[in-house]
Amino acid sequence: MNPVLEMKDVHFKYLIGKEKVFEGISFKIYKGEFVSITGRNGSGKTTLCNILRGFIPHLNQGTLSGDILLHGESIPDKSLGELADKIGYIFQNPFIQNSGIKETVYEEIAFGLENLGIPREEMIKTVDDTIKLLKIEDLREKHPAELSGGQRQRVAIASIIAMDPPILIIDEPTSQLDPKGTEEIFEIIKLLKEQKKTIILVEHKIDQVAEYASRIIMLEDKKILFDGTTNEILSKEEVMTYGTNLPQVAKLGIKYSKEVKKLEKIPTVLEEAVKIFKG
């Protein structure tokens, strides 16, 4: 099987930065994978996402080398417009990611489809479906600028999902949200996972990462430090020395292994922990 996304020996330095952000990043991501990018703040998680979407080098310049490929074709060589319906991008800050020109949530969601030249009938159907899928019927006629952070984030996700990109890059979608808002966003992410989208997620809330991601790529010191299955990475105690938290159940498992009885497998999600400690 050919990878959907691939990086080969990527090096990058921002125009204004003194130091390189990346020194030789390589990985392959396959269709339907749910990869979480972790690492301490400043390790380049957002930069990595920006490179994958082509925002670097198109909008934000720097010295970039190595291959960045979408189905084997070079991403930096494609125009941003060309990539729009192939790689969806959801940003961290809910307050800046609306178009800023639309008067209702409905039209906001339609904006991307207008730009893609989707015929009106189809556009209406898609927007209706998206609104239903994301359960945001109550926001339909509201003004995008008058929504709360959580609502805005849901609308932003809806606007991208409506464009139906097979790949989604989601950069800390819940950092400004409360626990309930976070849960709502992850319910949507779960839906996307069920639709077999390829998902790349940056998120500090490690319990959610543990539950939904199938693979973790961890950045540290300009390189990839760990790349493996979620359970494999999130059961390593040393992960915490690199600025990434572990799920509470994993921390418990590690401590239990040391102080009480060695566990064969360190749990990373609640259900596993329940099974292990019940048994």
Partner: protein, 263 residues
């Protein structure tokens, strides 16, 4: 001494009620976490503690000063407030100038200014960034610049509005350390946060807000094992509590407590 709030009601100019009759007192030297859903009124509530918002009725008294008699700038020496978004507060060209802004504004001698800045910067892990422009720092560190600013102001009461948002593990640990140090210095710390693990690790007193009111004001054990409270405030138990719940181990909120019970 302390903050005494009595029967405050706050309505926004458009008539929307944001705080509906809250009374509470916070002692000098306490550390308090405020949790609850977005829109519950947390930020509005703490903004009344430094006069950024003035209640429509009820009183706010800080160390015997009735806030209706002073301006925000005057009370800022006593009550410092770190906004959710650092971009709202930073405007100097270096981190040093930023932290020094208030001490200089108060016309303190430059030697004293330097001392205050260096202390605050050291506490917030910013020593090596003093000559950097705050906007060249990543979001997480910028937040620490705003915290350092408030520390250098010398306020007795320090309010942190969602300092944990977007922080990595190191950032969270550092914030915990800052809070501990401030308490050691006999400061009072009031923190709004959505990070329940952070709350449990750092606070003994938790105020839970929902729908313009205080639902409960208690310790972590009482809060995270009171399912009515959690339901009302749309909060979830941290996973260690959930695990305990599944296994019939109640009233634990930390990993260590859990281990104690299973041993």
């Amino acid at each position: 001494m302390g903050i005494v709030i009595e029967n405050v009601i706050f309505n926004y100019p458009n008539g929307f009620c944001a705080i509906d009759d809250i009374s509470i007192s916070i002692e000098r030297g306490e550390k308090v976490a405020i949790i609850g859903q977005n829109g519950a009124g947390k930020t509005t509530f703490v903004k009344m503690m430094n006069n950024l918002l003035r209640p429509n009725s009820g009183t706010v008294i800080v160390d015997d000063i009735n806030l209706s008699d002073v301006t925000t700038a005057q009370i800022s020496k006593k009550v410092g407030y770190v906004f959710q978004n650092p971009g709202d507060q930073l405007f100097n060209s270096t981190v040093f100038a930023e932290i020094a802004y208030n001490p200089r504004y108060r016309k303190l001698p430059e030697s004293k200014v330097k001392e205050l800045v260096e202390d605050a910067a050291a506490l917030c892990g910013l020593t090596k960034y003093l000559k950097t422009n705050p906007y060249d720092l990543p979001f997480g560190l910028r937040k620490f610049v705003t915290i350092a600013c408030v520390i250098a102001m010398g306020s007795e009461y320090i309010i942190l509005d969602e300092p944990t948002a977007g922080q990595d593990l190191d950032g969270l640990k550092l914030q915990g350390d800052i809070i501990t140090e401030l308490i050691k210095r006999n400061k009072t710390v009031i923190t709004i946060t959505h990070d329940m693990e952070f709350v449990i690790d750092n606070f003994e007193r938790i105020i839970v807000m929902a729908d313009k009111k205080i639902v409960t004001d208690s310790n972590p054990h009482n809060v995270f094992w009171d399912f009515d409270v959690l339901e009302t405030a749309s909060l979830k138990q941290p996973s260690i509590c959930k695990l305990g719940n599944e296994l019939g181990i109640t009233d634990i909120v930390t990993i260590d407590e859990f281990l104690q019970k299973v041993k």
